[in-house]
């Protein structure tokens, strides 16, 4: 190439190298400002978007105003647009839009902002605390009773109305993990839950980084896609959901399997998946894909060993109900949320809601998808991508869809070369956000 041609080609590149970091910086500021707006306004309390809670963010009170749907949805939309721009921009590493340090600072700042604020958008964390206090303070089995059995406990008033009579659906490992927090005051336990979610999120991101690097993918981009995701930050971390612990276990298992032929590590990976499933059962979806892909005894031995250990611990701590995962899953599978795609499709076809026959059809659809993915994995398809598809299919076919459920496939999607998985996951998240927009379009005074 001649010097003249080189200079013509390098000019646009030099220009893009100038504007790309500036644009990325502006988008990062929008993300931070939107998160701060939600947290500061949320700290003012008296909002339908902030669950009734002990005052844990009182020191932020007075800075913001009561969080209304309009402000929240505008902030959420701004976050989504900024996130989409940042993800698209950083996809092209040659633009140098964001450095490793800047990405870590952005994600760290988002985490600190949300950690410092009140619980956002969900009462689930109070159910976690209630189950812990039932076991520790009241000697009740949380697999047999709902929080309604401790009406005089200080946490009871904060538990969501729909969950007051519902026994825990989480695995025995999670319940035991939460028990030490049951010894503390509700406020201290709440901080403990927030800290657990924060540590789990950081763990998930570190493991995502490691997996991406091991697979020769851009780790900076990978952690940005996960750690700056508005649903991950606002709903997942903001609500201190235990899904983050499950995701950390999931990425731990994936990390153990990448680039190794060690039987010990493969057994450890399978055991980690089972341990994750004893926190929240969904992650068990990865196990068949790992086993079909590896076709070695080690993962089976690891999974069975951990299952036996978990069953033993669960049985010793909670009796037969502590290991009866199937009943809990069957019960929860019958729930219907207005945000589920099943409910939306039912409305599209003029039906008032989801009927039992629809549940059966969705289950059949899910089984067919999983069988297809297993067949593909058998033929050599990337088991991590197949697992991601399975988790996405579970959330899309579930009649009980919540924002943090569509986070499940995200860390897997960024550590595989299967681009369709990431596009599909982000598209589903986008549709979820669009579905929240009604109060913005038609506010009710």
């Amino acid at each position: 190439m001649s010097a003249a041609a080189q200079s013509v080609g390098s000019a646009p590149r030099a220009r893009s190298e100038r504007w790309a970091p500036a644009l990325a910086g502006a988008l990062a500021l929008v993300l931070l400002a939107a998160a701060a707006e939600i947290v500061l306004d949320g700290a003012a309390g008296h909002s339908a978007l902030i669950p009734k809670s002990p005052v844990i963010a009182g020191w932020l009170n007075g800075v913001g105003e009561r969080l209304g749907f309009r402000v929240f949805l505008i902030a959420l939309l701004a976050s989504v647009v900024a996130y989409a721009g940042l993800v698209a921009l950083t996809r092209h590493t040659e633009l140098g839009a964001i450095s490793k340090r800047a990405a870590i600072v952005l994600i760290g700042a988002l985490h600190v902002i949300v950690f410092a604020g009140p619980i956002l958008l969900s009462t689930d964390v109070f159910s976690y605390i209630a189950y812990a206090r039932m076991g520790v303070e009241h000697g009740l089995n949380p697999y047999l009773h709902g929080p309604a059995s401790i009406v005089h406990d200080p946490v009871y008033d904060y538990v969501g109305q729909d969950w007051k009579h519902v026994a825990t659906a989480y695995g025995p490992f999670y319940t035991l993990l939460s028990y030490p927090l049951g010894l503390l005051s509700v406020t201290a336990a709440l901080w403990g839950m927030k800290l657990m979610a924060l540590v789990a999120s950081v763990g998930t991101l570190v493991l995502t980084w490691r997996c991406a690097r091991q697979r020769e993918l851009d780790p900076v981009w990978a952690i940005l896609v996960v750690g700056a995701n508005p649903l991950y930050v606002i709903y997942g971390l903001g609500g201190a959901h235990n899904d983050l612990i499950m995701l950390a276990a999931m990425m731990g298992a994936v990390s153990l399997t990448i680039g190794t032929t060690s039987r010990g590590r493969e057994a450890g990976a399978a055991a980690t998946i089972v341990a994750g499933a004893l926190v929240k059962a969904t992650v068990a979806a990865l196990l068949p894909f790992m086993i079909v892909s590896r076709r070695r005894l080690a993962p089976i031995v690891g999974a069975v060993s951990m299952l036996l250990l978990g069953a033993l611990i669960g049985y010793a701590a909670f009796g037969i109900h502590g290991i009866d995962v199937v009943s809990a899953l069957n019960r929860d599978a019958a729930f219907v949320s207005t945000d589920s795609f099943a409910a939306e499709i039912a409305h599209l076809f003029g039906k008032p809601g989801v009927f039992p026959v629809d549940h059966d059809l969705l289950k059949v659809g899910l089984v067919l998808i999983v069988l297809h993915l297993l067949w593909r994995t058998w033929r050599g398809y990337d088991w991590i991508a197949a697992s991601g598809w399975a988790l996405l299919a579970i959330s899309v076919t579930s009649t009980w869809l919540l924002a943090w459920y569509i986070l499940w496939p995200l860390p897997l999607a960024v550590v595989t070369r299967e681009r369709r998985l990431l596009i599909a996951t982000l598209a589903v998240q986008g549709l979820f956000v669009i579905h929240q927009m009604t109060p913005l379009l038609a506010p009710v005074s």
Binding site: T260, E344, A424, S445
Partner: protein, 161 residues
């Protein structure tokens, strides 16, 4: 389709017949499969997108009606109460909604209530009242406890007598 490296077979894996062993690369011949998968994904994505937007439009209409219903009840009764109960047809089969609230100031449902039945489009932020009835204090809107039906509610037999 991405092709990821699988681990080398172990001693156990080496004893397996060739067709059962773990694969380092995905078997060839899946070009059409990828196309079919992508088409299915696009179709499912379109269905989900249409269902989502349809639901948002439906909810938006319901909210518009709700605002108009509340405004209409307040202007008809002359009471600017906040706690007014609305029963809507949220699935859009009809536009008939019922709004009930106290006839005198007091906690929700603690006084005699007046219910108004509204139908038709929102015009100027209000809807047309076609009829209604009264309910005793501390009562839910059940047909057995309604009395004093007026307007179209009489012909429709909304009250027990």
């Amino acid at each position: 389709m991405s092709v990821e490296q699988a681990s080398r077979p172990s001693a156990f894996g080496e004893r397996l017949p060739e067709w059962l062993r773990a694969r380092e690369v995905e078997l060839p011949g899946l070009g059409t499969m990828r196309l079919v998968e992508t088409m299915v994904l696009v179709v499912v994505g379109l269905l989900l997108a249409i269902a989502t937007i349809d639901d948002v439009v439906l909810q938006t209409h319901v909210n518009h009606r709700l605002v108009a219903d509340l405004s209409t009840w307040r202007s008809h009764t002359g009471h600017d109460y906040k706690n007014v109960g609305v029963e809507q047809d949220i699935y859009g089969h009809t536009t008939r909604d019922t709004v009930c609230g106290n006839t005198k100031p007091g906690p929700p449902k603690e006084r005699t209530q007046i219910c108004l039945q509204m139908t038709g489009p929102v015009v100027g932020g209000r809807r047309e009242v076609h009829g209604g009835w009264y309910l005793p204090a501390k009562s839910d809107d059940l047909r057995t406890v309604r009395y004093g039906c007026f307007g179209a509610a009489i012909a429709e037999g909304r009250c027990p007598r």
